[in-house]
C-alpha cells in the first residue's frame, strides 16, 4: 500500500530556525559586548 501523501501544512511544519537564532545571537552578543566595552572606556577615563 502506498503511503498517503500529506500536503505541506504551515501550522504543522515548523521551519528550522536554529541556525538563524545562533547567527543573530552572535550579532547581538557583539553589539552588547561592544556597548559594555565603550562604557568601560568612558568610566575608566
Amino acid at each position: 500500500m502506498m503511503k498517503k501523501k500529506t500536503l505541506p501544512n504551515s501550522s504543522s511544519q515548523e521551519p528550522n530556525l536554529k541556525g538563524t537564532i545562533i547567527s543573530v545571537s552572535i550579532v547581538g552578543f557583539i553589539i552588547v559586548a561592544s556597548w559594555f566595552a565603550v562604557f568601560g572606556l568612558f568610566l575608566s577615563r
Binding site: 504551515s10 515548523e14 530556525l17 537564532i21 547581538g28 552588547v32 568612558f42 577615563r45
Partner: protein, 167 residues
Amino acid sequence: MHLHKYEKWWLIFGVGTLITFLLILGYGAFYLGTHPQSHGITIDPQEIEAEESFKPENLGLTKVDEGQYVLNVVASAFNYDLGTDEEGKPVKHIQIPKGSTVLVQAVTPDVIHGFNIAGTNANMMVEPGFISSMEVTLNKAGEYTLLCNEYCGSGHHMMFATVEVTE
C-alpha cells in the same frame, strides 16, 4: 498570528534592549543631569570679550580652589587661545595636577570647532553663539593633546595644544 519560538525569543530580546536603553537614557538625562555641552547658554559670537570669562586676561587655566580649576578657551580658525604667559607669548602647553577637576568653558567667534583632550572624556563641540562647558577630572598623569575634532577649514590640523597632567 503564528510566531516561531526563536522569533519570540529574539523579539523579547530586541524590545527588552529598547526598554533598557530608554531607561538608561532617562536615568542619565533626568537623574544625572546629562545634557549637550552647549546647554542653551548663549553668547554673541561677535562680542565674546563682553563675557567676563572670555576677556583676554581670563583665558587659559585658572586655579579657583585646591584641586579646582577653570579653563577658558577661545577656539577660532585655526587656534586655541589659552591666554598668554608672563612674556606675552601665547600659551600652548598647560599643566594640571593629577586628580584635579577642571571646568572647561569654550567659545568660538567663527565656525564650529571641536574641543577634545585626546584620551580623556573631555570632548565637545564648540558652536558659535553658545558657551560649551563641561567638567572633567583628570586622574591619569601624562601628556595629552588638545585638538580640534570638527573639521573647521584648511588649517584644521594646526589647531592643537598640549595638556600635561602632572603627578
